[in-house]
Symmetry: C2
Subunit: 345 residues, 2 copies
DNA sequence: CCGACTTGTGCAAACGCTTCCAGTCGGAAC
DNA sequence: GTTCCGACTGGAAGCGTTTGCACAAGTCGG
C-alpha cells in the first residue's frame, strides 16, 4: 500500500535535508545522535527521514567514515554443527549492534598474509574479525596483531590476542575420569586432527587430559588404544572398528567429539556390541542429537561462545574492552545412558 | 617479511596509476579486464598493482558502480543442519564468483516490506538475495519481484520467482509406499510446522504424499496417527510417545525430518521397543548422522541446492539466466536398517 | 588521399556520505 | 557595553572508485 518502494531510486540524505529544512551535515549528525544538535532540529530530521523511508547508504557511509560496520568471520568449515551454532550466537549479538556479518571459509592455513593479503577476502572489508577454530597459534597471533583490524579468536587460548575457549584438557580429564570411576581400565581414545592444514591444539589438549586422568589412576597408556577419528562420523566408525576388532579391545571409549562417538555407536551395532553393556562410550560437545541417543558427553557452551566472541569484538570496536586476554568458558559432564560400570566378565 | 602491509594505509588506485604511468581510469579498466585497453598497458598496470599489493576498496567501488557484489541470504534459522549445508553450497559457488555473502536471520514472517523496508538489513546492501526456507508464497513472491534486487527462492516451488526445490509430495509418497510395501498398514506420520510464523507448504506437500500413498493401497487414514513433531528431535520424541502409548499404536512411522526420527528412536529406546523389530521408521533428509544410526530416509541434495541456487543468482546478475522458473531437484529413497517387514505378531 | 570508424587513453563528474572548519547567535563574564 | 564562550548549524572538502565523454592516433574502404 505504501507504494513508492518499488524499483524507484531511494531517498538520499539531501532529500532528507531539504525536507527538514537543514543542511546535510546536520542530518548526518542528527540521525546518528551526535551532540550539538538542538532537540527540535533532531526531531524534525528524524521525522523527515521516517517520512522518506530514508536509510543511509551503507557503502557511502563506509567510504566516508572509513568504518565498515562489518565484522568478518572465518572458519575452516561451515557445515559442522559446532560452527553453525557459533555463527548463530554471533549473529544474535551483531543484530542488535547493527553490524553486518561477512562469512568466509578458509580450509587452508590461517596465515595472516593469506587472509589480509592482496587476495584476502577480508582485507579492507571489515572492522574486525572473528576466527573460529582457525588455530592460529601464538606465532600467527603475533602476525594478526599487527594488522589493522582487531581479531578475536575462538577455540584457542592465546596471549597476544583476545581469545575465548573452554579448557579442553580439563574436559578430556573429566570424561576419562568418569570412565575410570566406573571401573574401566582399558579406555580407548578417538581423536584426530580437525583440519588437515592446521595444527590445532585441541586434540593435543584433550589427549593431555586423557593421559592425565589415566596417570591419576596409575593406568598405563596403550598406543593401540589411541586412534585418529578425523572428527567425523565415518572416521569414528573406522577408528572404533580398528580398536574393537584388535587383539585387546577397550571396555570404554572416549571420543573427542560426539560425532565420532556416533560412528562408534554404528560400529557397536555392526559388531553386535551393546552400549553400555559391552562398551561404555563418552563424547565431547553435547551435540543436539546426543541426548536422543543417550550419549554421555562433555557439554560446552557453543552458542554462548559465539555470543561472547561477538560481544568482545563489539567492545573492542567501541574502544572499551581489553584487546588481549583469554576468556575461559565453563564445561560440564553430562552422564547419560552410554556409560556404565564395567561389566565383570 | 614483506614489511609494509602493517597498519600503514593501503595503496590506492592513484598510486597504481602513478606507478604504471597511466591515468586512474585506465587502471580501473585494465584491472577489471575491460576492452579497449592495450595489452602492454594492461600488463604494466597489473604489475604495478601487484607490486603495490593493491586491492580495490570494496566500498568505494560499490558506491561508484552501484553494484554491491554482495548477495544476501535469508533463512529462518542458521543452526539447522539443513541451513548450514545450503549455506556451505552457496558459499562454495560464491567464492569463485568473487561475491560476498551477507547472512541474516529473520525468524518472523518473510514479508518483503520487512526485509527491504526502512529497517531491513538487506535493503540497498545486496545485489540479489537467496531466500532459504522462507516460504514466501505466491503472494510474497509477487511482492518480492517488484523489488530492485532479484531473488532466488529455495525450498519452495514458485511461478513468479526463480525457485528451487525437491518434490516433497513425491518424497513423502516414496517413503510411505516403502513402508506399505513392507506390509505395514498402520503408518504414523510425524510432521509439523517448520517455523511458527510462516505457513510452509512443505508439511502440506509431504502430508499429501503420505495420504496419496495410503490411498493407493486403500488404507484408511487415521487422525490419531498424524501428530505434529515441530521438526525437532524433542518434538519427534513427544509426538511418537503420544502415538505409541495411545490405544492403537502404529507399526511404522514416517517422519518429515530425520531429526524428528531421532526423537522417535529415543522414544523407542525409552519404551523398550526395538527398531525395526517392533517399529519401522523412516525419515526425510538424509542427515549426516542417519547413516550411523541406520535410519532409512529420503535423501535430498541439500548442498547441491545451495550450489545451484547461487549459480542461478550469478547467472541472473550476469544478465543471462531466466529470471523466473522453477528448478526441481532429485530425491532418492535410502533404505537402511530402521525399516523392515511388518512382524506377524 | 579523405572521411568514418575503431582503439587506446585521459579528464572530470558523479556516487552519498562524514567531518573539519568556520560562522552565527544568544547570553554570561568582566 | 564589550568580549568571550559555548551551543548550533552550514559549507565544502574529501573518501576511492567507476564511467560518460572527449580526444589523439591509427586503420580502412572508397
Amino acid at each position: 500500500m505504501a507504494g513508492r518502494d518499488s524499483a524507484a531510486t531511494h531517498a538520499s540524505i539531501v532529500d532528507v535535508a531539504a525536507r527538514a529544512g537543514v543542511s546535510v551535515a546536520t542530518v548526518s549528525r542528527a540521525l546518528r545522535d551526535y551532540p550539538h544538535v538542538a532537540d527540535a532540529t533532531r526531531a524534525r530530521v528524524h521525522d523527515a527521514a521516517r517520512d522518506l523511508h530514508y536509510v543511509a547508504d551503507a557503502n557511502a557511509s563506509r567510504l566516508a567514515s572509513g568504518r565498515s560496520n562489518t565484522i568478518g568471520l572465518l572458519a575452516p568449515i561451515l557445515t559442522s554443527w559446532y560452527t553453525s551454532e557459533v555463527i548463530a550466537g554471533v549473529e544474535e549479538m551483531l543484530q542488535d549492534a547493527e553490524l553486518d556479518l561477512l562469512i568466509s571459509t578458509r580450509p587452508g592455513s590461517p596465515d595472516a598474509r593469506r587472509v589480509f593479503g592482496p587476495d584476502g577476502a577480508f582485507r579492507q572489508r571489515v572492522d574486525g574479525m572473528l576466527l573460529v577454530d582457525m588455530f592460529v597459534g601464538e606465532a600467527g597471533a603475533t602476525e594478526l596483531a599487527k594488522v589493522a583490524a582487531p581479531a578475536v579468536v575462538l577455540g584457542e587460548s592465546l596471549q597476544t590476542l583476545t581469545s575465548l575457549s573452554i579448557d579442553n584438557r580439563l574436559g578430556a580429564e573429566l570424561a576419562t575420569r568418569h570412565l575410570l570411576e566406573l571401573g574401566h581400565r582399558r579406555i580407548g581414545l578417538i581423536g584426530g586432527v580437525i583440519t588437515p592444514a592446521s595444527q590445532s591444539s585441541v586434540p593435543d589438549d584433550r589427549t593431555a587430559g586423557y593421559l592425565a586422568a589415566l596417570a591419576g589412576q596409575r593406568v598405563r597408556r596403550e598406543r593401540s588404544l589411541q586412534v585418529d577419528g578425523l572428527f567425523t562420523i565415518e572416521g569414528g566408525r573406522r577408528a572404533s572398528r580398528q580398536m574393537l576388532l584388535g587383539p585387546n579391545p577397550p571396555s570404554a571409549i572416549f571420543c573427542m567429539s560426539d560425532e565420532m562417538a556416533f560412528g562408534v555407536m554404528q560400529t557397536a551395532r555392526e559388531l553386535g556390541l551393546s552400549v553400555p553393556g559391552d562398551l561404555s562410550l563418552i563424547g565431547f560437545d553435547d551435540h543436539p542429537a546426543s541426548e536422543a541417543f543417550g550419549l554421555s558427553t562433555i557439554q560446552q557452551p557453543v552458542r554462548e561462545m559465539g555470543r561472547m566472541g561477538a560481544r568482545l569484538m563489539i567492545d573492542i570496536l567501541a574502544g572499551h574492552g581489553t584487546s588481549c586476554a583469554h576468556h575461559p568458558l565453563g564445561i560440564a559432564l553430562v552422564s547419560r545412558a552410554s556409560t556404565a560400570a564395567v561389566s565383570s566378565t
